[in-house]
Symmetry: D2
Subunit: 409 residues, 4 copies
Amino acid sequence: MPQVQDAAYRVLVDQLRDRDVEVDRVETALKAQQIETPSWGYGNTGTRFMVFKEQGAARDSHERLADAAQVHRLTGVCPSVAIHIPWDEVDDYDALKAAAAALGVRIGAVNPNVFQDYEYKYGSLGNANPAYRRKALDHILHCVDIMTAVDSPVLSLWFADGTDYPGQGDFRRRKGWFEEGLAEVYRALPERTRMLIEYKFFEPAFYHTDIADWGMAYAFARRLGPKAQVLVDLGHHPSGTNIPHIVAFLIDEGKLGGFHFNDRKYADDDLTTGSVNPYEIFLIFCELVAAANDPSVAPDIAYMVDQSHITKPKIEAMLQTVMNIQTAYAKALLVDRAALQAAQEAEDTILCERLLQEAFNTDVTPLLAKVRAAMGCDPDPIMAHRASGYQETIRRERAGELQGARSWG
Amino acid sequence: MPQVQDAAYRVLVDQLRDRDVEVDRVETALKAQQIETPSWGYGNTGTRFMVFKEQGAARDSHERLADAAQVHRLTGVCPSVAIHIPWDEVDDYDALKAAAAALGVRIGAVNPNVFQDYEYKYGSLGNANPAYRRKALDHILHCVDIMTAVDSPVLSLWFADGTDYPGQGDFRRRKGWFEEGLAEVYRALPERTRMLIEYKFFEPAFYHTDIADWGMAYAFARRLGPKAQVLVDLGHHPSGTNIPHIVAFLIDEGKLGGFHFNDRKYADDDLTTGSVNPYEIFLIFCELVAAANDPSVAPDIAYMVDQSHITKPKIEAMLQTVMNIQTAYAKALLVDRAALQAAQEAEDTILCERLLQEAFNTDVTPLLAKVRAAMGCDPDPIMAHRASGYQETIRRERAGELQGARSWG
Amino acid sequence: MPQVQDAAYRVLVDQLRDRDVEVDRVETALKAQQIETPSWGYGNTGTRFMVFKEQGAARDSHERLADAAQVHRLTGVCPSVAIHIPWDEVDDYDALKAAAAALGVRIGAVNPNVFQDYEYKYGSLGNANPAYRRKALDHILHCVDIMTAVDSPVLSLWFADGTDYPGQGDFRRRKGWFEEGLAEVYRALPERTRMLIEYKFFEPAFYHTDIADWGMAYAFARRLGPKAQVLVDLGHHPSGTNIPHIVAFLIDEGKLGGFHFNDRKYADDDLTTGSVNPYEIFLIFCELVAAANDPSVAPDIAYMVDQSHITKPKIEAMLQTVMNIQTAYAKALLVDRAALQAAQEAEDTILCERLLQEAFNTDVTPLLAKVRAAMGCDPDPIMAHRASGYQETIRRERAGELQGARSWG
Amino acid sequence: MPQVQDAAYRVLVDQLRDRDVEVDRVETALKAQQIETPSWGYGNTGTRFMVFKEQGAARDSHERLADAAQVHRLTGVCPSVAIHIPWDEVDDYDALKAAAAALGVRIGAVNPNVFQDYEYKYGSLGNANPAYRRKALDHILHCVDIMTAVDSPVLSLWFADGTDYPGQGDFRRRKGWFEEGLAEVYRALPERTRMLIEYKFFEPAFYHTDIADWGMAYAFARRLGPKAQVLVDLGHHPSGTNIPHIVAFLIDEGKLGGFHFNDRKYADDDLTTGSVNPYEIFLIFCELVAAANDPSVAPDIAYMVDQSHITKPKIEAMLQTVMNIQTAYAKALLVDRAALQAAQEAEDTILCERLLQEAFNTDVTPLLAKVRAAMGCDPDPIMAHRASGYQETIRRERAGELQGARSWG
């Protein structure tokens, strides 16, 4: 088997050289990729109907960091972990930072939670009640303090704010409250950090969401200034949306700040990235690769995962996610961009598409195996994880009843 | 004010007579309407992100029956209550039946729950594990026993079964298991009862749902026999679906068994019926009125509500729902069907549409006020409820902390 | 019948006064409403499968103006007509302006066509070929000249530009070409005129559209300056989009320039406004009424129709459209906005919604009949048109074979 | 280059043997695949906005057959051509059959057109006018006669019937008329032929389509009998539909008769198969491969293409389509189905998905090159076509002005 893989790698390199691909540069790029995993991706989650608890799922920040460290150990490309406050609230953030470092990872984006307390039933920064707006704002400012404590470069803002019924809220007044609140947060941001504003088409509010699409997030971010950018969550668009186009548009405006990777079939399903339409995530990476080679834009992008693993084991699902993202990136790096531009100018649609499909249809498994080996990782992180005994260990350590919990209290 | 309402009623009657509407027949039909409310609509529910608890929300079957009785008392058209097992599981179903009767209501459809136990993580009747299929089947057969105990005419079947990822399940094997299971349930059905098979486009499974659309529910029901029919939940279709057409098609096939009323903007939002597109629910009732007047089809339809009231008080939301359904029905009763058929045959699209719009644009508030008064109810059930002191009473009786509960355990 | 209508009007006025509605102000507002109809709405159109020609459909600009004048004569609220170049190209624009004036109407928005010539197969302002971009730009600048000639206040820009396949075009380069082209147009705009930038989710390009959503149109318009605004076509959004929210957001940004009214069930169906979801168009007008009363925003909005009447007679369809828009506006004027704001602040979602529904459920037919009579129009413009003999006259004058034309050449 | 390809093939074979794939069986299956191309795919088509004519596009049946023969010559897997009546109407069908044979192809499915004549404006078999229903029926029966004349095994029925506005048609009456008409067609079907009933979610009718989904086509087909089956067009579903599931369900019911292959981003875009979501077409083929190996179902399926090539050259687009379908089929043949079933039973979702992804991520280019060479075809049919001079020849032969035609007459 390794012999076959080795032969496959050599043939692939020959094929890529025939296509004028600089294999060394591709491998260097793959080694430099960084994907941030979220602490909340290691705990139990579910749908509104049911949470199926997993034995050994992480129960606190330290267990979540440990699981994230396992993912980094196996993949080599996940050195940072996003935290969610208050789920990851601790008394001593220095200790949390040190714990992460001891595990070989660091804290990444800080995510305030302004949807879980009773006061947020009708909104947070968009709430008609000024006391509740203040509460939300204070929580976010607290998170800004945490950023400093843990050396986090990114404040990642998602608002569940919205309404369920026509008339329930005044769209323009709520917009004004958001502008006020965001401006106060912006002013508090530490040097060399950014705030990323996430948008979402619907859910948990069903009639309207205050920041419903990239255009609204963009309008807020533009008014705030250069430290405010837009966060693109792949599941937060209506069906049929061309996400690569939005990505390119935001890059061109200097306003693409980061991603929440996942995939979806109809709504915000929070499925494994690349599980429903792997070609779409490849096309997104094609835009990112093009931009990375273009000094006129030079975006600084936070690559983060945001998924809800319901019917898959948490750590394995995260490993699969990371591997799918690496696959998409590797394929995008193989596109012959000079030939693509020439075909575009020649109006040769067939050839344009073939150039993308040729890259997409290339089996990059041998390439990624090579890169992983060079980074001291197993070519197959999932099987390496299964063989590692880690899962058995945490199952014993974190013993608990195997049961479900009805979501509705 | 009452004087104005009285004048409005007299003018409306004159207008309707000008349009050859038999007002007496319309009022008789409105008095005969029956809408079943669900016991679970009176308790706390939420989204996957949060359950915002309401003070005074019903906590057990008896409280749920009491609240349903309040809705019936105020509207006069909600004499039955659907129950959900095990949420409404009791030791003594005779006592439950008697309790309902004492409150002035009766038990309606029995809804088994085969999605909440750990064994159902990968399906119930469609589970690859025969022991879990058996467990689900036994639970449903237990519900059939409950039907007999409480004199329920309807077994209402919704299955959360499905998969999140390609390959996770074998579509055809799962279909075979469903056929087997449903056949066993069918054989156990008491005389003069029906089983209604619900379908759903997606959620909580995101890649595929075993009974994903009306066609699948219909295929199962047809093979089972006349006591099996299809249940149409208004929120279980993709955007853009013409639900009135599906309703008409099923009526024509003799397979429309009932409804779960609600409304939605994008997904299965479980919003108040008629809150997003009131014209659509009117058009559905136009099909129902047409069928009711057509001896060749004569459908027997269970009108049931299935909503999740998150940002509205439970009882008020139910009252508003019932009132919206009455409004839609009242307007549909005003359509001049003979003129409509003539306009259809004359290819006069403009006139066809005007005949519907004229009925829809009629303000039926005075008509419904008259009907409610004749039934001993207040013309405005919501304001009557607010004035009744009921809410205050149950808030005190069912005191509890006002708080939220994070959905994810 | 008139007696009944008179009684209905008097009762309605009493009801509205009970609700503190200033009926005089409502009637004044309705009389001041202006809706622009499009010249192309009076000619034959169709789907990609078939164009079913209508006998008597207008064949040239003068016939189209004549039909538009008939709509204005019957409704009193359609004094201007949008033109489309080259469909309405004439040698002498002074003569066209005079012809319009003689018919009692005036020229409204000028719409360039940059999608119909062979050179636009791969785009107009976004075309990779500079000669084709220049051609498109020259055509638009020609339309700017026409604006001056006919005293048009609005340049209405819709671009079919986009791609059908991944890779076919370079999103960011195309964006750059659009910015260049639009800037040149902007500089040429006459004083006291505006350019409105329309966006569209998809079609005729299927993979990506260069101006795909309001956010992109907004970004272009913002960079250009105050004379550039966004045009909202009701059919150009994915399913489930909250259009009233977008309308409010754009108003707040000072960037809502106008509407193309129509309705749709799934895609850009170009159906009669209000025919699929009349509640949605009402909710849009609620935002417009709220903004009109708010001196902090004071939008200047062009209300234009853009529909494709396939199975309805052109003039009747336009009359029905105008009447539906009047109905939506009339109902929106009835909303008690002070009570609504109070209910919003009290978190009384039920009451918020009731305030909207009460207005929506009001039958405004008697009110509109009164307003029409006061403007010298028949209370029922469609039936007045049928009785007028106009249709018979144009059918004879514009005799032609009754036939279909296959769309695909 | 050929040396590299040869090496790639040898490595691939080694890899597949490691996965227990029987490479010979896969190659045999690929050689036996047959994909029918449509005569109308070689002529000019467009959107409702514009038809961009292509120089050299086929203008009549003989030119269309010639182009189809070129596709078969280059791919070896397209021996039959679907015809569309009256677009392919000829005086002498024996001559047409002979012409096809002389070109190396044969006539496949016969497609009646009951949407293009003026009488069909309000429907064909569902028209309220009995004379128009009769006309449509006579045309279809004429097509049944043509089937006999050209030895066609399949009558392929697509109906544009539907309505644009609520009330325009009576759903149940129209259903009855369809049942009558289809029954008459069914009775006329020659021995050993089938009728395939296509469904479509929307367009060209926008409010309702008489055969709107697979369930309606299935209900009609079931009632008619075994010679009636359902035709699945990949573009005729709402966004988010799980087509592989529908395919599996229909196979299980014995009612899957055939496909119209294409791809879509939002609506019925008629794009190149596999151009938007190549994973989806792979997953469809996974169901077909599973069924082909299952004697309990043994479906007989017509694989047909139905696309509208607007911005791609017709013949190249067809070649690309065929190649994409071959790629999807080849990958589906590599799935280890025994391992998949074991993983499903073990509830190992991760492994299930990996087994599919491993097959999908395999680069089957060397395998298809080998198969094509063995069939006497060039490994790259598109480049072979470009090199063949065929396009130049037909461009000269079929000279015409290069121009556009506005769709709306």
